[in-house]
């Protein structure tokens, strides 16, 4: 997982002055005094001076934009803030999540407000967990030329191409495992020369695995039967009738696993 992590490592922020101000509360973003170290970034072509230790998302907001599309959880789970950028003197297109990527001097960036990704409607109950599913629902998977561009574009450093290859082989467990941490940001899909929508393939594989290929849990089935048979009815009713003090006593006397 950590294979390409090095390229995104950054130095920790340098200590700033004025600790007493932020100490009042653990404050929400409020940037009344610009910190000393600033860099110039080009947000959709327009130059802005922003704090050198800002994330791309922080920089966009610092510059005065109110984000509508392009921000979601802001913690690296939802995939709303896919961003592409170039750096000075470098021909490469880089990709990242705006909430997780730090700005650099001369960065030229643009957020992708939405990614067009095809997704057929299907009935999970009627699918069979084998290679035929991918042939039917996502035939473009088989156009993969193994160029590895998707893997290079992945902000989570997932082995995207490997899971597409696994899909071609019908290895659903491997697709599930390798795509598990996918954010559905879509950066793989817009870079793919075979026009595959990788993240939707990953979701399908996870659902197939969870429904059809998992090992069943006997104790769960047993508990479901017990609940259905109203086994806990009396115990519930007793506790629900208890006065607060009585319940409190029971709570503090309870044993722990």
């Amino acid at each position: 997982m950590a294979k390409t992590m090095a390229k995104k490592k950054v130095k920790a922020a340098k200590p700033k002055t004025k600790p007493e101000k932020a100490a009042k509360a653990q404050m929400a973003p409020a940037k009344s005094e610009p910190p000393k170290a600033m860099v110039t970034v080009y947000i959709m072509g327009k130059a802005h001076k922003v704090p050198a230790d800002a994330t791309i998302m922080g920089a966009i907001e610092y510059a005065g934009y109110q984000i509508k599309r392009g921000a979601g959880c802001r913690e690296g789970f939802c995939g709303a803030c896919a961003t592409v950028y170039r750096l000075p003197g470098d021909y490469k297109i880089y990709t990242g999540m705006a909430c997780m990527t730090l700005v650099q001097e001369g960065m030229w960036l643009s957020q992708l407000p939405a990614i067009p990704g095809q997704r057929p409607v299907y009935d999970l109950d009627k699918l069979e967990p084998n290679v035929g599913v991918f042939q039917k629902l996502y035939p473009e998977v088989f156009r993969c030329v193994a160029c590895n561009t998707c893997t290079k574009a992945c902000p989570q450093d997932l082995e995207v191409m490997d899971y597409i290859q696994a899909a071609k082989q019908g290895n659903i467990e491997k697709v599930m495992d390798l795509s598990f941490d996918c954010l559905s940001c879509g950066l793989c899909a817009i870079r793919c020369p075979a026009e595959i929508v990788h993240y939707n393939v990953g979701i399908l594989a996870k659902r197939l695995y969870g429904k059809y290929l998992r090992k069943n849990s006997d104790h769960l089935d047993k508990r479901l039967k017990e609940v259905k048979a109203k086994k806990y009815d009396t115990e519930y009713k007793e506790m629900m009738k208890m006065k607060k003090d009585e319940l409190k006593k029971k709570y503090y006397a309870r044993d722990s696993e």
């Binding site: 997982m1 950590a2 490592k9 950054v10 920790a12 922020a13 200590p15 700033k16 004025k18 600790p19 932020a22 100490a23 509360a25 653990q26 404050m27 929400a28 409020a30 940037k31 230790d53 922080g58 610092y62 005065g64 109110q66 509508k68 599309r69 979601g72 959880c73 802001r74 913690e75 939802c78 709303a80 997780m100 730090l102 409607v121 299907y122 009935d123 999970l124 598990f180 941490d181 979701i203 399908l204 996870k206 659902r207 695995y209 969870g210 429904k211 998992r214 090992k215 104790h219 508990r223 479901l224 806990y232 519930y236 506790m239 319940l247 409190k248 709570y251 503090y252 044993d255 696993e257």
Partner: protein, 555 residues
Amino acid sequence: MYPDYMHDSLKKVDETRQKRLELERSGKNVFPPMTAEEREDVLNKFHPDYKPESRRKINVGPNKGESLTTEVADMLESHSRIDPQLFNLSKPDYETDILIVGAGGAGCAAAIIARQNGARSIISTKLRMGDANSMMSQGGMQAAVTEKDSPPIHYLDAMGGGHFDNKPDLVRALTEDGPEVVKWLEDLGVVWDKNPDGSMYVLHGGGTSRKRMHSCRDYTGAIIMRTLMDEVRNHPDDIKVLEFMPTIELFLDDKGRLAGGILYNMETEEYFTVKAKAVIIATGGYGRLHIRGFDTTNHYGATGDGLIIAYRAGAKLLYMDSVQYHPTGAAFPEQIAGFLITEKIRGAGGQPVNKFGELFVWPREPRDVESAAFIRECLERKNGIQTPSGRWGVWLDSPLIEIIQGDGYINKNFPAMYRQFNRYNIDITKEPMLVYPSLHYQNGGIEINDHCETNLKGLYVAGEATGGVHGRNRLMGNSVLDYNVFGRRAGKFAAEYIKSATIGKLSLKHVTAYENELKKAKIKTDRVAPVLLPLYTSDEVKKRQLTAHYEGTLR
């Protein structure tokens, strides 16, 4: 990479680790859990809710005269975004059975179950489907499924965690539906963590007396949310999802029954009317109101929009004086300040320690107690670490987990957390994380019964927007369960209701009446709600934003 001045303290954490490991392995509690009196004491002195300025009286609406969280009272005493007179209510733009407000876990679960019960729905959402706190939960979902556990034991844990203020019928629904939710999600394709024999892999959380935390690595919410979204997308004929179109007012009919709502297209700034026989509010929480100036773990749109539209329509709120601060928000580095560090870290053996590397609280106290103890350790005892920007924090000793659970455990079970810190050159398998409480959860909300019904006919509420399930403090893993249990129930009971429900003429009279009430209470304000999005523009920029009149925009 931690700054040099923290190295002495980091060394102390290293030095005390062996002793703390032995303590953990002894099977005894690593620190004495607090008694009821000790809990009360630390909460009274250090929990942000208990400061006098944290609450104020609300002067309008169904809860008039009650003391509520200050920022919530401010938000409720706000103007509507619309002038009711401008709307033609005789020709709605959309018609459906159920209007679902919010496309997080509760909204999606409700839509799926409502459809199975024969009801069509429109989901109105401010951002994209799944842009919700549901997506972000890392640690897991509680459900009593093991032999040592039972739903009533889960009930007792939840009641104690909520200081016995929880509504008993709601806690019974929560805990008794738990096992079924595990199975339902599994059949929809959620990949739960399991033991090699197929049994569920479960851990402890704060305030649990049995191991019942189910997880999907530390992407629990993301896996569940994406599964629910994917299922919603499989039914485009019955479930219509309108993104970037929040519901900003509700319709009542001439008999006071819910009859739909007004949607605002945030991009074109148009308003659309939806006529529906029932409404389910599933708008989640309010972390982005940054209560008491705290950082938050919440997603960008968590501004409590459902509270205000329901309140204007006459819905009663419960426990809106109680805010949950998650004990372990990131305090360093600055860029991720406030981010959630899952409680599962402590469930797996991670210990909070002070700058001397010493334990100062039992790691599995309920969240409010644990948070208050962290604040006490920093602000009163001064045994915390201060960051370069002045934030306080205590260490959360994650390297201990690798020793307890074996090498590679963190990478396998906490990939999101590992990534998060590795970006800033902090390897959490070798160095601890610096943490401080972060604004996390809206304990209170719109009052419901175990059918998700409110005091208004046809109004259903599910998930974080509700009040009563968790009393005044929620336990870890009960919110993921909550949005599933009550999302499903709201879908089911709303679908049953619409079979015989009729609606009369659409009305916005309650919006006009609320404005009059504000006037009568002599409240003069330019606040407008729903808030929709927080504003993070720098002061430098604001100084130059001098347009005399804004029309229709978010500002």
